[in-house]
Symmetry: C2
C-alpha cells in the first residue's frame, strides 16, 4: 500500500518538522517540492493560503499546528467536507498557564514597581495593595487550557471565575455562560485573561463596551489571538484610567509593526506570540497518530466543528 | 483573673497590630508605654533588642511575627527557658510560592529579554531556550513553605529536587539530605532557591564553594535571609559567568544601603524583603490563640527548638 502524502505548509523556521524522518508518510513541503494537487492526502499548517486547500480534491484531513484553528477557518473557501484537527497537547496548556501566572503575578506583586525602585536605588517596602484572595481573575474561555490555568491560579490563592459559551463545572471556579451573563462576569473581573478561540462571535470581544463593564482599574491579558482585541479601544481605556494595564502576546498583524504605538506604551507589555509554542517533536507525533487513525477508517480526538469553530 | 500583658516590640509601621482591639490581653507597646519588667507575660516581635527579653523575669512565651526566628536567636542572651513560637500561617506559604514562581518564570520564560526587545521595538520570537521538563529547580529547605512551593512548581512542569537536614518524602521531589549529599544536590540544580531558616549551620551557605558546585550558568533566588549569602562571592560568580543571574529579596543589612553594588548590577533583581509579608489581622489571631493555650497550661504548635532553631 502506498504511503500517504503529507503536505507541510509552514514557515521556514518550522523546518525542524520536515527534517524529521517520517517512515509512515511521504513529506511534501509547500514552496519547496513540486507535487500534483490530487496527490495531497493530508495537510499540516498554522495558516494555509486562502483557497489552497480547496484545490486538493483528495484531501482526507487538515491538521492545525496550533491549538487555535482560526488560521484555517479564515479561509472562506475551506472545504467543509475535510475534517480539521486541532493540536491539543498538554505542553501547550502548561506553557500557557506559565505565561498567565507569570503576568498575573508580575501585576499582583507589583514587580514593575519594584523594578523601577531598583533602578532608583529605592527600598520601597510595602504590603500587597490587594490581598490575593480579594483579587478576582476572570478567564474568557474554560477549555483544556483555561481549566488547567484556572487550577494553577486557584492554588496560588486567587479568586477565579470564567465565562464560556456553555456553563462549565470546575470546583472553585464561578462559571458564567453565554451573552446573558457576560456583563455580570465582567463586573467582577479585576484581571481579565483572554484564552478564547477566535471565531466570528469572539472577534473584537475585547472592545470599549467590554472594558467599560470591568471594575475601574482592571488589567487585561490577551494570550489568544490579535483579532480578539480592538487596539484603539484598549489605548483609549488605558488613557482614561478605566484600565490600569495590559499584556499582549498576540496582534492583528504579526510581527507587530515597528511603528505600532503599543511598543512604547508605558502600561502595555508586548511579547512576540510566545505564550505557548508547539514543539516540533510533539506536533509530528500528533500528526502521525492522526494519519494512522484516518488510514484505518477511524477519527482522532479534537476534530473541530467547522461551523462553530469549536 | 487579671488579663495577661502582651508587650509588642515592633516597628511603628506595624502599628496596625497594637491598634487592634484585643479583649483578651492588655497590650503594651515597647517605646510608647511605660511598664514594669516583671509585668511582661508575653512578647510579640520580629527582632527584639538583644538583652531585652532576659530582663523579663515572668515571661511565659515569645511570639515571632515572621516564619523565621533568627531575629530572636541572634540574641546571645535569649532566655532559653522561654518557649519561642513561630508564625506559620498558610498565607506566608502562598505568598512565598507566588514570589518564587514569578521569578522562576521570569527567568525560564526570558521575560527580561522580551522587556528589552520591547524597548527596542524588536519582535524577537523564539522557542524557550530550555524545555520546562529539563529545567531543574533545587530548593534549599523543604518545610511547610518549601513543600507548598515545590508542589506549585511541579504542576507547572519543572523538575524538582530539595535539600534539607533530614530526608523528606514529597512525591515527585528528589530528596537530598545532610552535608554528605549537598554537592550532589547542587550539581543538578539549574535554579537554586533558598528558603532555609537562618541558623549557625546555614549562615553563609550561598558562598563561592556552593556556586562552584552548581551547573555552569545556574541562577540563584534568595528569599530566606540576607545572612545566607556572601554578597562578594555572588558578585564574583556573576562576573565569571559561573552564575547567570540572581534574585535577592533579603539582605545582611536592611534597608539595603543606597551605595550597595547590588542595586545596579545588570544580572541581579533586588526586591525590598516583600516575598512573604505577615498580615496583621492573621498575626494577631495567632498570638491570641497561642496565649489562650499557654494560659490553659497547654502549648501551641510551632514551638521552636531553641538549640537547633527548627
Amino acid at each position: 500500500m502506498a504511503k500517504p502524502n503529507l503536505l507541510m505548509v509552514v514557515p521556514a523556521k518550522w523546518s525542524a518538522l520536515w527534517a524529521s524522518s517520517l517512515d509512515a508518510v511521504n513529506v511534501l513541503v509547500h514552496g519547496r517540492d513540486s507535487y500534483a494537487p490530487e496527490n495531497v492526502d493530508y495537510v499540516l499548517s498554522f495558516r494555509p493560503p486562502p483557497g489552497l486547500l480547496k484545490s486538493f480534491p483528495n484531501l482526507k484531513a487538515a491538521f492545525s499546528l496550533g491549538a487555535g484553528v482560526d488560521g484555517f477557518l479564515c479561509d472562506p473557501e475551506y472545504p467543509r467536507r475535510v475534517p480539521l484537527v486541532r493540536f491539543a497537547d498538554k505542553s501547550l496548556a502548561v506553557e500557557m498557564a506559565q505565561f498567565v501566572l507569570m503576568h498575573v503575578l508580575i501585576r499582583h506583586r507589583c514587580q514593575r514597581l519594584f523594578d523601577e525602585a531598583q533602578r532608583k536605588r529605592q527600598w520601597r517596602q510595602m504590603a500587597l495593595p490587594r490581598r490575593t484572595e480579594d483579587t478576582r481573575i476572570g478567564l474568557l474561555g474554560l477549555g483544556e487550557i483555561g481549566s488547567f490555568t484556572a487550577r494553577r491560579l486557584m492554588e496560588l490563592g486567587f479568586a477565579l471565575s470564567a465565562w464560556s459559551r456553555s456553563r462549565k463545572s470546575l470546583p472553585g471556579v464561578r462559571s458564567f455562560a453565554g451573552e446573558a451573563e457576560f456583563d455580570a462576569f465582567l463586573g467582577q473581573a479585576d484581571i481579565l485573561v483572554c484564552l478564547l478561540s477566535l471565531t466570528r462571535k469572539t472577534a473584537g470581544i475585547l472592545n470599549a463596551r467590554t472594558f467599560a463593564a470591568l471594575p475601574q482599574g482592571a488589567f487585561v491579558i490577551n494570550a489568544a489571538r490579535g483579532g480578539h482585541l480592538i487596539e484603539a479601544d484598549l489605548i483609549a481605556a488605558l488613557a482614561s484610567g478605566r484600565l490600569s494595564g495590559a499584556v499582549l502576546d498576540v496582534f492583528e498583524n504579526e510581527p507587530l509593526a515597528k511603528a505600532s504605538p503599543l511598543w512604547n506604551h508605558p502600561k502595555i507589555t508586548v511579547t512576540p506570540h510566545i505564550a505557548a509554542v508547539s514543539q516540533p517533536a510533539i506536533a509530528v507525533q500528533y500528526v502521525l497518530d492522526g494519519i494512522a487513525l484516518f488510514e484505518r477508517g477511524q477519527r482522532p480526538e479534537n476534530i473541530v466543528d467547522v461551523e462553530t469553530a469549536y
